[in-house]
Symmetry: C2
Subunit: 218 residues, 2 copies
Amino acid sequence: MPPTITAFANSPDRGRGHARDMRVRWALEEVGQPYDVRLVSFEAMKQPGHLALHPFGQIPTFEDGDLALFETGAIVLHIAEHHDGLLPAGTNARARAIAWMFAALNTLEPPIVELGMAMLLERDKSWYDERLTVLNHRVRVRLGELSVRLGDADWLDGAFSAGDLLMVTVLRRLNASHILGDYPTLSSYVARGEARPAFRRAFEAQLTVFTAASKHAP
Amino acid sequence: MPPTITAFANSPDRGRGHARDMRVRWALEEVGQPYDVRLVSFEAMKQPGHLALHPFGQIPTFEDGDLALFETGAIVLHIAEHHDGLLPAGTNARARAIAWMFAALNTLEPPIVELGMAMLLERDKSWYDERLTVLNHRVRVRLGELSVRLGDADWLDGAFSAGDLLMVTVLRRLNASHILGDYPTLSSYVARGEARPAFRRAFEAQLTVFTAASKHAP
């Protein structure tokens, strides 16, 4: 039995690959592990059945035999630990790749999500311009630091790793703004990630779900 | 040579244990690993020497022989993987404990930090009351879900783990507000964490740094 992940029955990002199942799909594609997908509605996500798998009522989840996991960082790390291709072999290099996983999710993603939410929800508020300036600055500080560290390397620390996988998906959340264009080093980095065959397969798979759901929409 | 961590020379939290070195100190105390501390000023944190260790110019860092790490999640996980006491032995239980580490840092901490920052920086803004309502709601939704999952258990999944360690430090950030008092299950959980001898030793160690720095302040 292949592992089963959950994903939005009807993704609010309209198939642009920003929903977090994309990260798990990409990791599974990188290591060549087939998987099943169970689609869940927004209503079902908050019901006891799904909450038993995910205490915060979100997607994705990951079920493999007796194991049920939530949190994309943990799922991607679990996949990386049980297959070759997403973590380097050396102990120290492995620890550093994991540091980039946490950096993506705890240092880069929070200000990027905050900016995205403000652009989505606060556009008609009196304070929008003032807040946007602050939020943009917070994101740009982190992008500047990341850009300097990456330099002219292809990936953050040697070969492509689970750290790069998560960082690319986090930076892709900025696609709707034009910020990333001011950091050519990072734009190229994201493009390198998106060009990987495993990324393309994962992207097409999640897009197919959205396209099929749209056809059946009233 | 014991490992060396970095910490604020003069912590902005005035020794209340909210700076992120607290998490690493606590983990090291739990596993009985002695450590050295190198204090860094705000200026030094943004200089090339420190940026080589931490690309985002923050504390803590962790140096052990040839290995240099940043990101508290990665450092705590590294400590947990190389010593007994912070991760369960079973493969599945271990993966679930790591899921709680990511949940603490990627699901709970971002809205809690956002609320804390608004309370610190936006108090005199015209929008403060309206924003505070939104931010409080986001935090309360997560606390409610976490409270339900914890139930009457002592810890999130069996014995105390690195997941509980990070979750308790994240929830402690709410100490300045009175929100946690509305979730007695979580207040007791945090109190259980703070009562652990390893927590007490780590707390005293970081408080001593702050007290000594204050004595020498002009």
